[in-house]
Symmetry: D2
Subunit: 335 residues, 4 copies
């Protein structure tokens, strides 16, 4: 039985706690949060649990095997380092860290301590994203031409990060997972309407080899929630609408072909084709349940998680580049 | 009775012909198109009309008062120039011309000849866009913070222009009309998957004074049609979904405020507020009918149209800048 | 060239006129309507046409081969009879007539005069309904278990018929076409909120052999337009949402099976299965264009139309039975 | 602190347990279910709780103040009777009982024992239904003309009840709450495709005084989930779509008026009017949380719950009448 503690019981921590409480082979044993009122909520829900305002008590408790960190981003690195140093397995909420140096250090620490380091890129564990991965890997789309994602809603304005570090990790981790390759260059634009330096709207454009382009539109200032990702290939295209209650993934038998056409002025023309659509049935298991179980299994079987430290680093690297571009008049940053 | 001829009877020309045929005070008298099979269609529909493969016959027919030009973009300038030169009123399909110099010349020609020059920025005449304009002008949104528009679909790949010149004029003209001011700088990114130099996906970001940001996402390579425009203000926000059959405009009583909060670590925090939504009833008259009628009235009453040559020029200027940015690694172009 | 006249130029007549004006092998030659202002509209649109306030002029014009009747229901029978009597082919707006006796008489008249009698059951000519027919006929649904259709909107309140005779013909004709069999019994309920005897809301339930049930919900008093038809089979089920811009038909690989289960208290249990969904690409040709062309071809080739007089009669028979049931406390009417 | 036990830990019991575990002033102390595997799940989630396969242990435990019953319907009456007899407050899952006699007996028992008897008509505690009630009570709709509800989905086929007893209690309880009056007569139709006597599709039509009509369409055999309720008044109309993530309630400024019109043949005509729509912001608190809290408060303050035994009885009475009608060829049953 893997004994798990949750550090940080704010917005996301309760979800981690609930899922580790019910994961097979795991036992939720402790929760920490600096705020007393959050701990009271935790105690009401889990009367038999240890709660503490000081996460260091969890770090030094040798009875605890693993920690799940759901603190503000600025503390991820420090706490993860302490936990790995104390011989614990670590799951860190996204993004893994504030800098790629920190991410790199955590990866090395997890390797030297032979403990699992996993990033909570939750969407990777949804039925929808796993199905997209399956379709793309099977080559059903043909050559992948673009990835376009819009993730906007009203608030929550984060106090310590901008919208890029808050929302874009979802899109970037999905993109990383599905495309299986790294962008070569990136540019970002955006606007900070309320606090200088803290963008609440941002647009990221990424260039991959072979003319593959990716775009991410994130905002805390949209009156409605939009979660729309398009993945287009030469043969088929996917629309992933996470707002849809059940048909989240639609695969369109639509494509484009170059045609030599003697009648037209231009000799060659681009013809498009639209065909049937299908919506595959998706596994509806809660993503965090799948993820919590995967973390426990990686610990038990000494395996690398799908969203390991390196996936966390790749995401942080892109976030850093976006930050760099946006601070420099959207200049193109090579990766 | 204003006698109108339609030059170009391809995709859009039939819509112009139909609306001028029924406009009060107008009489559709001639149609030209270089393709015989298109003229046969026109004759079947309008048996009493003159049709010709040579648009010059229309230009020199002194019986014709006005022409509506729906040819490929590359011919807009030349034909409009001929028509204005022959003393005719001119309506030109969007965008007005291929360059801002051409647009400027057409404006001057229309002024010297005292004829109406109007651009077919069709969306400006929809009930939806007119309602948005009304709401924004009334100050209901508070300070306008952003304009974000997504206009994607599968094809039609145009042979002589890229997706920026084909689709973005819609968004740029709506933006120009609603915001009533000019952007100071622009950057664009995109990808040409099929023909070098002919982008089929593009992203435009525009910066206005006072921290107002605008973004336009256009694509010919999306498996579904998306027509989604968000206009966000400090007090209220609008969602304009042109795919909705009746509730195209939704006004959200959502906003953001800065709060000094002693409890938080950061002293000030940004709070958001979500409230009721309303969907105003919209005039459902076909936009092109309103537009055709407006053209006729401007001719009769010697008035400037809402979408006059200057509106056409402002749109062309932004398209040019987008083109310039995209050819130079998305560099920021001052306007 | 079949010469066609349209009798009745109110709401629906202009659509018939437009389509016959453009149908191959047809020539629109005359329009009649008792209202002068409607004729003015017709003249503006078709300057070369004969227009008249007296439909009898059309009937006696031996130059006219066929008429399309789009008058109020109460005049369908009389005018169709006159037209068939004068040796013309006849297309009648739905429903064919006010009574089944009238429908029967028109069928006989068309047979004795060897002229085409066709009913304008427009939906039968949509890509959507034709595709459903194809799927059902191919046996893809397994045994058809139910047909459930909701067709509600605000107004138009008809002056001479209730909502059953106005809206339900659509659902009943679709049902008749798709299921290819006749109901054995029917019951109807409803409410007349504004004029006694003129129901503005009605519910029809029909029983077919083999436990197939059909239900139709029609209303003039719904604030939104709903066009939702479900066709459920033992193996697959169809959702037909006519409000959807492109994916009108969705086929669900969902079904139900009886399972003998020793663990349950009840020995047998009903298990359901949900699988993938697909949306076949549909022909998007305007239904009325397909229909007008079909009418012309039936005339030329001396064929029975898909929606012939008998289809019209079957629909009228059900409408009559619904009327009878609703006038008798919803009693079950055998058919 | 009110000590609560949950009897029945199948599909719905876990939701009751979770909410009582977190309700203010309540303490979840015990759970019973005849199935060992269900109890194991309960223990994993609530390690400090008493669990038992025998609900009688809960009944006789004098330490327990209240029970929430989530067993199959056939056991509601017996267990509720035992619990009230043992001096406990009782919350019963909908519907309250299998017969109106049983419901009546439970009401009397709760009155004589002075204990709270509440029915779990969950929807009454949603922000959406409470808002509709508020709008209707304020007279915003004018005279209420109809209530039309569609609640269909695939499965779950219940082993001991038909679809009327399973799904229709939701619509009937909402109707009862919103309209605040009783129907005078009812008729029902339906079909039992898999087990004779166990309808899986059913249609209920209810007549109220003053020409108000209500209709409920329930099915376990629909490939998609539809939750659509229309409430129409003479001045405004409500669309309640429970599938919508946030805008569940839309209020349309649409209505109908009778107009004396000299031009028309019929002297009077019915005109309709469509205006703006608004979607009020709704309280998004989980309904069951509101309900659990209400139960606890009613116990503490000795109050009648909103969904008391009488509301439960009114619902059961309608279900019984529907059953009677459907067994007798849909005859009209007076209530």
């Amino acid at each position: 039985m893997v004994k798990v503690a949750v550090i940080g019981y704010g917005y996301w921590g309760p979800n981690l706690a609930r899922n580790f409480n019910e994961a097979d082979g795991a036992k939720l044993v402790a929760i920490s949060d600096p705020k007393e009122n959050r701990l009271k909520l935790a105690e009401k829900r889990y009367p038999s649990l240890n709660v503490t305002t000081n996460h260091k008590e969890i770090i030094k408790d040798s009875n605890i095997d693993a920690v799940a960190i759901a603190t503000p981003l600025s503390m991820h690195y420090q706490i993860a380092k302490e936990a790995l140093g104390a011989g614990k397995h670590v799951l860190v909420e996204k993004p893994l860290s504030s800098t790629s140096e920190e991410a790199q250090e955590l990866i090395e620490l997890s390797e030297s301590s032979r403990k699992v380091l996993m990033v909570d890129h939750t969407f990777i564990y949804t039925g929808a994203v796993r199905k997209i991965k399956e379709i793309v890997e099977a080559g059903e789309l043909g050559k992948v031409l673009y990835f376009d994602s819009m993730r906007v809603n009203m608030g929550l304005f984060q106090p310590d990060v901008n919208v890029i570090w808050d929302l874009a990790p979802h899109d970037i981790s999905i993109m990383d997972y599905i495309l299986g390759k790294k962008p070569e260059a990136l540019l970002a634009a955006g606007s900070a309407h309320f606090r200088p330096g803290f963008e609440n709207i941002a647009y990221l454009t990424m260039y991959y080899p072979d003319n593959l382009i990716a775009h991410v539109n994130v905002s805390w200032l949209a009156p409605v929630k939009v979660r729309l990702t398009l993945v287009g290939g030469s043969r088929k295209m996917i629309v992933y609408d996470d707002n849809e209650p059940s048909e989240k993934i639609k695969v369109y038998d639509s494509g484009v072909e170059i045609i030599e056409d003697k009648e037209t002025l231009y000799k060659i023309s681009v013809q498009y084709r639209t065909g049937d659509m299908y919506a595959p049935r998706l596994d509806t298991t809660e993503a965090l349940k799948v993820e919590a179980q995967h973390f426990i299994e990686c610990i038990k079987e000494n395996r690398k998680p799908v969203t390991d430290g390196k996936a966390g680093l790749r995401t942080v690297r892109i976030l850093e580049a976006a930050q760099e571009s946006i601070r420099n008049d959207s200049k193109l940053v090579k990766l």
